[in-house]
């Protein structure tokens, strides 16, 4: 009951926050000088093309960019609430929902695989490394983990891409071999895609894996030296049982409290890696929409991410409360 009440109250807060954040998101996107059309003009000019002023003016009226910001905001919100319409992308001349939907499945797939990879690898390694503190394995894991943390992602992506290209003559960029690029979905195409995934998962996963190993090891070490562990050990409980029963559960806490935050990350994809590896995920799209001030696309996606963050935080809190009954709710 307490749990339910807690949940409902949190939900109400979330709604309020959403409204506030939608304003903030909209303002932030429009904070840089100019608008989509000035970006468009610059874009045209950089490819040598002139921009006819009268054409630009006509577009400005058509896109409603001549109206003040609060009107644009209200229109955007109204359409969203009334029709579930996220607006049009100026740059692509396509509804926002369509663009995002086209990129989302792949993004989620990559992110889920990466997250699974990161958690699957890091938690056991973290535990092992904590239990065998200062062993050779601990040092090796530590060094590799730190190196994983220390290499800038784009560099790692670039180098892996180059090695794949020169060493294995793999196609670089994208997720499919040329012969499958236009093919309909089939088993062979799926397999082909799987072959292109490992470098992506590795590049995206290394950073977070290394981080998780560090946190896991750190917190677990704290726990292991606590009296109750020593007492339990003295009672002769098997080492594995002892480990899993309490310290690991406690040590996972900080990780759990941030697991919800991976939600927006899952949807926004690993932006930098996606850019370097040329993956059609949402990350590069989002960045581009921000750069070109593609108002509705950038705004709607920002809102989407925001919503997910809120949901993520919510999940984290609920999980935390559930996992650790010592946390009271008042």
């Amino acid at each position: 009951m307490a749990m339910l009440k807690y949940g409902v109250r949190r939900l109400l807060y979330m709604l309020l926050l959403m409204v506030m954040l939608s304003v903030v998101a909209f303002v932030i996107i429009q904070l840089p000088p100019g608008d989509f059309l000035t970006s468009y003009i610059v874009e045209l000019q950089q490819s040598g093309q002139p921009a006819a002023e009268e054409e630009i003016e006509a577009l400005r009226v058509r896109y409603g960019l001549d109206k003040p910001m609060y009107l644009r905001y209200l229109k955007w919100m109204w359409d969203m609430i009334r029709y579930g319409d996220l607006g049009m992308s100026f740059e692509r001349d396509q509804p926002v929902a369509e663009i995002v939907a086209a990129r989302l499945p792949l993004t989620i797939l990559i992110s889920l695989l990466t997250t699974l990879f990161a958690y699957g690898v890091s938690i056991p390694i973290g535990i092992f490394s904590a239990v065998r503190q200062y062993s050779v394995t601990d040092y090796v894991v530590t060094v590799f983990g730190f190196i994983g943390l220390a290499i800038p992602n784009f560099l790692l992506a670039l180098i892996i891409m180059y090695i794949l290209y020169t060493g294995f003559q793999t196609d670089i960029g994208g997720l499919f071999s040329p012969e499958f690029e236009l093919a309909d979905w089939s088993w062979a195409r799926f397999v082909d895609m799987l072959k292109h995934l490992p470098p992506v998962v590795i590049v995206v996963g290394t950073g977070s894996t290394a981080w998780l190993v560090r946190v896991m090891r750190g917190v677990l070490l704290d726990e292991l030296s606590k009296p109750y562990v020593i007492a339990a050990r003295a009672k002769g409980i098997s080492e594995l049982r002892l480990l899993v029963k309490y310290p690991v559960r406690v040590a996972i806490n900080p990780i759990i409290s941030t697991i919800g935050w991976t939600l927006p990350g899952i949807v926004s994809g690993a932006t930098i890696t996606s850019i370097v590896l040329g993956l059609p995920t949402t990350g590069p799209m989002y960045l581009q929409s921000l750069r070109s001030q593609d108002m509705y696309l950038a705004g709607s996606f920002t809102m989407f991410l925001t919503l997910l963050t809120l949901i993520g935080t919510f999940i984290s809190d609920i999980l935390l409360a559930y996992m650790d009954p010592r946390i009271r709710f008042e």
Partner: protein, 377 residues
């Protein structure tokens, strides 16, 4: 009143028992070999970059050497082509030729031209700390010889020089941000976790609000909103500070979680019953308990800042040339062409990795040292 015990042994026991927590930590820290190595490496890198890059660099940071674009790194030698040993180390000169097909400048060692490395030479004018003008460099070679130990970039600028100067920026600029986040995170997270109730509720909602604003658009908006007259470096500093005002949230949440958990512990209850003040409880009982976590988080956030700067430079949102940081050096180098033909331009990445590694090892050592239960292990 004195207790009669053998003097020498007792002295030892006495000092050990009187040791403050910091002394205990220091003695534990010293035992952590990797942490010690990491600390020394950090001190060394700070000295050669932040402190003395002006004097250690053989050239000036913008010094263009038009005859040597993309020169590969030179090797310091003691033995020449004929097998003779030289007491004074030297470098060979370069013979430069253009490849007729790829138009690339091809560098061939000129074994005829030996340039001994000299200490304390006069060269391109620099300003120490931006104030004192000098042309004194710690080492160099005589004209027309050149010394590019890390090679050069497209304009023939010495990469060693640029790496050292870039380190000055990279290693100092993010710290303000980290410091602000750290203080705010601890303070607000602490209040929230310790007092709970409505105060906690408010702080938590504020955190949620900040946390939900995606960073990239925020960064872009701020970068564009700061006065355009500002030089790039001040803009960057400004944004770092603003973001750190927003960036304390992660730490605050963890601190709160940890405190929520700790305040239910028996020893806190005991302290309360004894009549300790809140501040006293936090300082004497709670803080030490999660100091280890704070230290890990702090030592991780410094390299995080350095890496963050490289990532932002990559996205074109961070520092921009002509300001030089490691991120700027790497993002201007990040191209297929560099990987394939001029790999030495990635040397700054080595510095980033070493610094991040060292910070982590140091943090690791601090963590272990700060762990109140770790004694005797």
């Amino acid at each position: 009143m004195s207790i009669q015990v053998p003097a020498a042994a007792d002295q030892n026991v006495e000092t050990l028992y009187a040791a403050s927590q910091w002394q205990l930590m220091w003695s534990a820290f010293k035992k952590h070999r990797m942490a010690m190595v990491g600390s020394f490496v950090l001190i060394f890198i700070y000295l050669i970059t932040v402190m003395f890059c002006d004097l250690l660099s053989p050239y000036s940071i913008e010094g263009v050497h038009a005859d040597f674009p993309y020169a590969p790194p030179q090797t310091i030698r003691f033995i020449d082509a004929e097998g003779r040993f030289h007491l004074r180390p030297f470098v060979y000169g370069w013979l430069v030729e253009e490849d007729p097909v790829t138009w690339e400048d091809v560098f061939v060692k000129d074994t005829e031209a030996l340039y001994p490395i000299k200490l304390g030479v006069r060269g391109e004018a620099v300003k120490i700390w931006g104030f004192f003008k000098t042309d004194w460099h710690l080492f160099g070679v005589d004209e027309p010889g050149v010394i590019f130990l890390f090679g050069t970039d497209q304009l023939g600028r010495d990469l060693l020089t640029r790496t050292l100067y870039a380190g000055r920026i990279s290693l100092s600029i993010g710290f303000i941000g980290v410091a602000i986040s750290f203080v705010l995170g601890n303070l607000l997270g602490g209040i929230s976790g310790f007092y709970g109730g409505p105060l906690d509720n408010i702080i938590q909602r504020v955190i949620e609000f900040f946390i939900s604003i995606p960073t990239i658009p925020l960064w872009m908006a701020l970068a564009a909103a700061l006065p355009p007259e500002w030089p790039t470096i001040r803009v960057y500093l400004g944004i770092t500070i603003i973001l750190s005002f927003l960036g304390w949230t992660g730490l605050a949440r963890v601190v709160r979680g940890k405190l929520l958990e700790l305040r239910e512990e028996d020893f806190v209850m005991a302290a309360k019953l004894v009549g300790e003040t809140d501040l006293g409880i936090i300082r004497r009982h709670l803080l030490p308990s999660f100091l280890s976590y704070l230290i890990v988080s702090l030592t991780l956030s410094v390299p995080g800042m350095i890496l963050g700067e490289t990532a932002l430079s990559f996205l074109g949102l961070g520092l921009r040339p002509p300001v030089v940081s490691w991120g700027v050096l790497l993002s201007t180098a990040q191209s297929f062409q560099t990987v394939a033909l001029y790999p030495w331009l990635f040397i700054p990445a080595g510095f980033v990795i070493v610094v991040v590694l060292s910070f982590n090892f140091m943090g690791d050592g601090l963590r272990d040292a700060a762990d109140p239960y770790a004694q005797g292990r």
